[in-house]
Amino acid sequence: MNPSALIYLLTAAIVFGIGLHGLLQSRQILRQLLCINLMGGGIFLLLITLGGGADGPPDPVPQAMVLTGIVIAVSATAFALALLLRWHELGDSTELDAVANADANTHDE
């Protein structure tokens, strides 16, 4: 395998891992969203690297997949941000564990 491909492969995996780690340990929704986007970036990088991007024009099918994926990611992010705004208007915290507590209290409403 081409050394560049190896580098990007590694980068892809690590970025995905960092995103996952951040998603799981963070309590801030906005940061969790960033992490999800990081993970997406990792996957896209993986797709193109595996598609042979390091050796020449990569396989067009993964490219199309990534392009679609980028648009889907921005759609999801946009919706999530709209939901976040709404969330903020209702509550006073963007932390999910605050929700857990609030839910425990309002559980029986």
């Binding site: 996957i43 595996l50 997949m65 759609s75």
Partner: protein
């Protein structure tokens, strides 16, 4: 003719959604009606064709796989499509009262609803892994706004949690798909079996584990179900119905497709399938116990969904045994009857919540006088959920038990039995709460009950009666479903 019908199933609701976005009352009505009403008719054509000619493919754009995207229709897909048409249709009628198309709330509701319908139809028909990813995202991005539509604190919070986990799930799935494409050079579900058989099994299993993890998260399979109860319980009634009856099933459906259709037997070994079944068993027991502990009707029903999804995974370890056809029939029948019953329960619960202003179990007393028909729907659907005769749930449970016996999987038998006892416990808990009358001297309780439009009551009752009727009309449907996945026709 079939091809046109298949295209119609996806594109009519899609264009209907477009029409509802346009200004004007006429466009809205036109969009809703043309998007939903013709679906059953189209399905009749599809069903007849599948019954006559067997499963078939439709190449979109005329590009053959692996280059292009194919649609695949087989009895399982037809079953799911019928569920979308019937459950989605009745839920839509129910929603018509709460979200009148011309009102601002209707303007928000209907385009999303139609897109969701289209997305589910697309998902059940798609034969392409990446296309399925797009479908999954479309479902996520239409279902979650529908949950948050009420704008209540609980709903928005539940929606947010659901969204984050659903996006994570999609990414895990996509990661698996990326690796699979690299290993097989195709995204077609039904073309990758041979290539996968040649690849190193351990790596394939790891890849499938990623895909399955994503799907289990989307399907709210124990222990990844945390998002489900509140999301389903805080959504508007018809949305809850469709979420529980259809949306979570999409993930289970894909699990079936991946593990039973596209994976070679060397990889889909007993251990992997047994692991999935163990999760199903956990769901059945854990969901049942938690349903028993809830204080609110909709939460009980939502946890019951967590539990009932377990049944669908329990059949997997029997895939290689002689009992498979029976197990498969039981699984698919469970899919159907749970869908009908759960949708009926959620619609009835929505009516009750609306009429009483509360769905706390302690507020339900004398429900038999205040909301007799909703209680009837709840009870009849509950019978199916418990798996007691006469109902679709009973026949499904019978088949599952039968299969467990034939394959000699005794632990499955024990789990099934425990699961149905738990189901009986939580359903009867609801019924007991609604027959109670703590204070016999209390003034007429009917007085402070709001009236529910007859149509809404009728939708719940009709779905419950369908769940009941499923207990009688099983034979033709089960014949149609056939022997299940790894049969001769799974790889035409």
């Amino acid at each position: 003719m079939t091809n046109e019908a298949l295209i119609g199933l996806i594109f009519l609701p899609l264009l209907g959604a477009c029409a509802t976005v346009l200004p004007g009352r006429f466009a809205t009505y036109l969009g809703i009606l043309s998007g939903l009403a013709p679906l059953p008719l189209l399905l009749v054509a599809v069903t007849l064709s599948v019954a006559q000619n067997g499963p078939g493919f439709l190449e979109l754009g005329g590009w053959a796989a692996p280059l292009g995207i194919r649609l695949f229709v087989d009895p399982l897909a037809v079953l799911m499509l019928w569920m979308v048409a019937i459950i989605g249709g009745l839920a839509a009628i129910h929603a018509w009262c709460d979200f009148p198309p011309a009102s601002p709330s209707g303007q928000r509701f209907w385009p999303l609803w139609l897109l969701l319908t289209s997305a589910m139809n697309a998902l059940f028909l798609s034969a392409d892994l990446f296309n399925l990813y797009v479908c999954l995202e479309l479902i996520t991005l239409t279902a979650i706004p529908l949950i948050a539509l009420t704008g209540s604190k609980t709903a928005v919070r539940a929606a947010m949690r659901y969204l984050l986990l659903a996006l994570l799930a999609s990414l895990l799935y996509l990661l698996g798909v990326a690796l699979l494409y690299n290993a097989t050079g195709t995204l077609d579900l039904y073309l990758m079996r041979d290539a996968l058989a040649a690849a190193p099994p351990a790596a394939v299993v790891a890849t499938l584990a990623l895909i399955s993890l994503g799907l289990l998260l989307k399907g709210a399979v124990f222990p990844l179900h945390v998002w489900l109860p509140k999301a389903h319980a805080s959504a508007p009634g018809p949305v809850s119905a469709v979420l529980s009856a259809l949306v979570v099933k999409t993930a289970i459906y894909l699990l079936y497709r991946v593990w039973l259709w596209s994976v070679p037997a060397t990889v889909a070994a007993e251990q992997a399938l047994t692991l999935l079944a163990i999760l199903g068993a956990g769901a059945l027991l854990y969901g049942g116990v938690l349903a028993l502990l809830q204080q609110r009707l909709k939460l009980v029903i939502a946890y019951s969904t967590v539990a009932q999804l377990g049944y669908l995974l329990l059949i997997l370890p029997m895939a290689s045994s002689g009992a498979w056809p029976v197990a498969w029939q039981g699984g698919t029948y469970q899919l159907l009857s749970h869908g009908l019953a759960k949708a009926a329960m959620f619609l009835a619960a929505a009516n009750i919540l609306h009429a009483l202003g509360s769905d706390r179990l302690s507020d339900l007393q004398r429900l038999d006088q205040r909301q007799p028909l909703s209680l009837f729907a709840l009870a009849v659907a509950g019978v199916s959920i418990m798996g007691l005769p006469p109902s679709g749930g009973f026949l499904a449970k019978w088949l599952l038990l039968d299969a467990a016996f034939r394959s000699g999987q005794w632990w499955l038998l024990a789990v099934l039995v425990a699961g149905s006892l738990l189901a009986a416990a939580y359903v009867f808990r609801i019924l007991a709460a609604s027959l109670r009358r703590d204070d016999p001297t209390e003034a007429d309780p009917v007085a402070d009950t709001k009236a529910i439009p007859n149509v809404q009551t009728a939708c719940a009752v009709l779905l419950a009666l369908l769940a009941l009727a499923a207990g009688f009309a099983a034979a033709p449907m089960i014949e149609f479903i056939g022997p299940g996945a790894p049969g001769a026709w799974s790889r035409p």
